[in-house]
Symmetry: C5
Subunit: 357 residues, 5 copies
């Protein structure tokens, strides 16, 4: 299941901006890749060594650094020194589980987003993506080893002239990150429809647990996706000096997507609530029906058994005419059977009239 | 049922504004129609060929292009080239399932709305309507083959001088689109009243499923109709430079309708919630009554059967005066019957006092 | 019951401002009445003919026109022509079921309110009141034949000098319309207390239906009363140029009433929710108690009947010492009765210890 | 219980500001008291006659008039005339049940508050306190005979130089009125903890009714206390010209108290909701357990009784070897008893395995 | 459990700023400690005597006073006199249970926060921390004896040059206080996951009580943590003149943490609600299953027992052919057994078809 609490945090009181190792020891090391523009054309993305990272001020053409995995504090400190990153932003990269946000340190814009994806077992995962946009470079760090940008790498390869500015590249990466929610929501919508079908036809503990898992995922999704909208809003409102006029329109487009995603999440939450109501109501229905059947059975057979019990009594005063004379009647037995039949019949008639079956 | 997720989306990372074919292969092709003003009078709307679409800058009188169905990427690209449409807006036409919104690209105003309608099977459908207003033309695209504007076509035919400006035409189309919600909500109100009647008199699984379907539709309706209000608000606030003063008042009227529609949807949601409460409470009532009946039956017949059981025991020590002497009494049997009658009677009296029946 | 959907609407696409007959054919015609100031004194209100309505520009002293019932399109068009009313406002008069709102057309202020009242059967009704304030006249239209202004007519008769300005008259009419909610809410409060009493002492299906009816009315009331507050707010904020300074203070007083009314409606909704919880909890309590009784009965009599059943078995091997020798014991029967008594007693003791009765 | 609707209201349409007698005829008359500063020192508060009330403009030193009980219209009109009160404010005094609010008529500031207190029977009561602050006087009217200001009277007596300005006095009275909510909320918190304890250990109808009463009180409290915050806010924002700079800080302190009170009320509402959930869940638990017991009993004894019933049948063909030969076996009876023991034992084993007891 | 109401309050009407003893008599006295910068280096924190507290105006280097425990009114008055604290702020220190807030008195900034921590028994506690920032000193008062700043003391010891300004020190203390919520929320998240696991697998009264305790804690946490965000916001918006530009960025970082904490609390509340739904649904499931089993048992054995009862009747007219002739048939007994088998079998087949087991 999705984890509810995912943040790494240092002991309270630690100086903010302190870098602490958070990579599990058995996890594979982080890799850094680079694509850059050369004479107005993108070179394909290539792995590089950490100490080959150039100093930001010496860059002349647009560089895109992409880090996969949690870097060690040493690697991150090196990156920070070369590219001029702010310690707070680097701390957030390591601590993970951040709320989507946008921060600005003079020329440096830092956007933290959550990329939603399902892993191979169909379990929802939120991958933290941190994007740094400097004067001549964009640095993207995805800490959970998800391949977020295959389509963008293909675009760079096929249309080498595309994405010529830092803000265009930033937009493309953010766009890809936000749009990752669509296939997830599509799948969630399908799951809701399956659960709905199950709830109406064969509700049970297993369906209930699927619904619970769904609601849990929607809670986590919501926590991730709500602030995404604010991030876009803040960029458009406060940091548009870093964007070219053309890019603003495209950013507004991402904003629209973020709003649409939130709308979907809210609708799904409503649906999940409605499904739970359906479940409880159907259960209450079934209970009613089972109890009705029990009542019908008891109401029919209890009087009959009682009558049979009466004539099982051993009253046998030989001379008393009151000592169960029926037992000795010629037609006594068929008469009693008839009475029983009448009792049962009238009960059934009564239940039928009450529409109990 | 209404679909929860209806959006087409390209692989995340695709360059925004990329046109992708979304028309199902077996779907019929899109048709384009044209009505235009000639010497201050409207010509009736006529089908036209895609390549006859004129270039926007050459238009002299008001033209209304109306596209029915999902156009192919080629047709749309042609339209975009001739009329100067922005790629993002064209992408939205193809992807469908958009949230109502308004976008502006310099002189071009793009309004996306959802037209609510019930199909022949009484199933609610949201049809996406995209309206483009340029300098001298209005382009309307309805992608799901609903005939939205019969009344407006009649108005053009009967009052050829009406709707002389682009913003008047835009207003008329938006007005028709928004007002399509009224008959739908009228029908929903009627359904709520039917479900209410059923809930109070004969609640059951079938009524429950009708209520669930209703709630689902209200969730989808709400997602569509909330943003409609914002669209109107935004037009009045940000884009009133494109409207004549007279049209502003009429736009405010649509705004009032949108607010009224939202109020209705919210009230209906409240009602649906209240109906579910009624259902659960009535079910709980019935359960109580059934169980009471079972208890009454059991409480009366269990002691009686027990008494009968006692006298069915085979104690028969011939000389013991303690060996069920009652069996040999002269009035033993009637006495026991009397006792049974008293037991049953007092039980009944007790239940009556507790108002159990 | 209150109707959920009450609006008349033309086919979507109809030109706004089109007047359509909405009066049911069997309904009585609308009547127009007039009171006006003559030499600084009010003449009493008198019925007048529709074609005697003067042209607004020719009026010299304050006129109050009051229309009762839904006017025909002809009558309304005449009114509109003489008094210079805007078509949109006139359309709203005919269509009914409007949301409270305020509109302004140059010099003309149009206020639409809902007057809440109970009819003779104690059913809540919302009557639409439209108020037009021009330069020298006020026109009030109440479309559902409720006598809203008896107290104001009396004030005019008794204090002929009162209400000398259009805005004072408008204020008086709005004040009366808004305050009509107080007796209704008073009655609702009383009903809530009755239902509360019934819920706690004798909950049942009938009480449940009363609660449901109450909630339905609160939903409709809320939809009507929320926007009333906005209407007052808008008048104070946007149209205070039409009010004398003194009238502003009185308008603020209506605003306070509107807020107080909304507070009451919200509290009542909370109370209604709380009552439903009480109902469900009490029902659950009763169910528990009934089932406990059933369990007590079954737990006591099932073992007893079983014991009696044992000794009703016909084992009768004449020589076997194992063939129910108890049957032949001298004290066998009293012994068994004693055992039964012990079983029943210990069961009862056990239930008593569990505080089951 | 707290009343839901407490407002007196005149017939709708009555001229606002009309004074109407609202004091119940059997209620004791209102008393007016006066304390004033003489040579920079407070004289103790003394009862005075209504016609001794001085004219506001002639006052030279700070006067504090305090009215206890609902004044008659005559007394109020006299007060209004002498102190220059606005008719709307006087009407609010008489009508009671007002929402907390602040009004300003030129130099006159009118603050209406609700003082929460429990009466001797522990029933919550909201007492309306109206405070008028003029140039040289403060008039406080508490209409329900609660002694709100004992501590302030003591302060005046002990520190005669304190509260030298109208706004300081106003602050002191408001502070005392708002802080009256703390002991009430303290008591409510204690009641919640008692109900919580009862809910977890011995839930029942009586606890349920206590919870309901609590929720009702919280609904009324909330309606009273929410607007208190707005009153303080409005004073600080709009009327700070009437306050000395020093008093502003103290007013902000009341504002903080009002916010804290609201936070508590909201938390208590959440707690009350949580307690209801506990109640319903515990009830559902108990039901489950009772029904389990019933099922255990029935599952054990029904088969046993059936077996006993079999051997109670009177098949007795003398020569048929199939006519219940078991009855005649030497070890028949013990064998059957053994079988019964096995059946009962295996049932018990099965229930034990299902952790049913 | 966490206390719902924790505030000390004086009798309503007491002059605000009055210091009242609130320390329980048996509680240990408060201790004051001091750390200060000497020649640009921090001396380690040392206990000091109350009367050694210097006068604020004479301070030349940054001093940090830290008070542990509730000071007596005398000690606090002394502090107030020497450091120039405002009486309202000092009153808040004594009264405890304050809502997080920020106040400013000229040069003095007072920040009140709640530090969340679990005590040794795993019970959540909110400790009130009040921070005063003057020109040359910071005074921190933690009234509940929690060691909040061990890490900061270590930082001062290890990096004597750090935290050279009052606002940096204030930031560090606030940062530590706010971050104390992370381990608590981490633990809460873990508890939710444990309860979730228990709810799905073995729901019961004990799990229910754990859930209730959790919800109670979340209610209290929320009340504490919501206003923390506003405190940060207010500092950034209104009091940034007291902050160096560098500190602003760090304060924004605390703000981000506060928002993230609130997001978590809200998600946890949602989860807790979802868990309750799970609980009720699972309970309803189990009830259904138990009742089904009861119904199966009753439906099978009641008819069988009835049949056995029939043949236990003592009809024995010697010559009547209708007097239970079956009893005398040669294959009567096996036939009846067969019939019973058929009845039981068909019942079982029917239940199987209804998927009841």
């Amino acid at each position: 299941m999705v984890e509810l609490f995912r943040k790494h945090y240092p002991p309270p009181g630690t100086a903010p901006g302190t870098l602490r190792e958070t990579r599990p020891t058995q996890a594979p090391g982080a890799r850094i890749n680079l694509a850059f523009r050369d004479q107005g054309l993108w070179t394909p993305m290539q792995p590089m060594d950490w100490d080959q990272v150039p100093v930001a001020d010496t860059l002349e053409a647009l560089h895109w650094f992409h880090v996969e995995g949690v870097p060690s504090t040493g690697e991150l400190a090196l990156l920070g020194e070369r590219l001029g990153l702010h310690p707070l932003a680097m701390e957030d990269v390591l601590n993970g589980g951040q709320r989507p946000k946008v921060d600005r340190y003079d020329e440096l814009l830092v956007v933290t987003l959550g990329v939603t994806a399902e892993n191979d077992q169909g379990v929802l995962r939120i991958h933290q993506l941190t994007l740094f946009m400097g004067n001549c470079f964009v640095l993207s760090v995805i800490t959970d080893g998800l391949d977020v940008f295959p389509v963008i790498r293909r675009r760079l390869r096929d249309h080498g002239r595309a994405l010529a500015q830092t803000d265009e590249l930033l937009h493309a990466l953010m766009d890809a990150a936000v749009d990752h929610a669509f296939p997830v929501l599509d799948a969630v919508g399908e799951r809701i429809e399956q659960i709905e079908e199950a709830m109406l036809n064969r509700p049970g503990q297993e369906t209930l647990e699927r619904l619970h898992r769904l609601r849990r995922e929607l809670i986590v999704l919501r926590r991730q996706l709500w602030p995404t909208r604010d991030v876009l809003n803040q960029i458009l409102r406060d940091h548009s000096d870093l964007l070219l006029p053309g890019t603003r329109i495209w950013m507004r487009d991402i904003y629209d997507h973020a709003v649409q995603i939130m709308d979907l999440v809210e609708s799904y939450r409503d649906m999940a609530g409605s499904l739970l109501d359906i479940y409880l109501s159907t259960m209450s229905n079934r209970l009613n029906e089972t109890i009705r059947q029990l009542t019908v059975i008891a109401t029919i057979f209890m009087p009959l058994t009682f009558i049979a019990g009466i004539y099982g009594m051993n009253f046998e005063h030989p001379h008393s005419p009151f000592s169960m004379p029926e037992l000795g009647w010629y037609f006594g037995y068929p008469l009693i059977l008839l009475i029983m039949l009448l009792v049962a019949g009238s009960m059934l008639w009564w239940f039928r009239r009450k529409h109990w079956f």
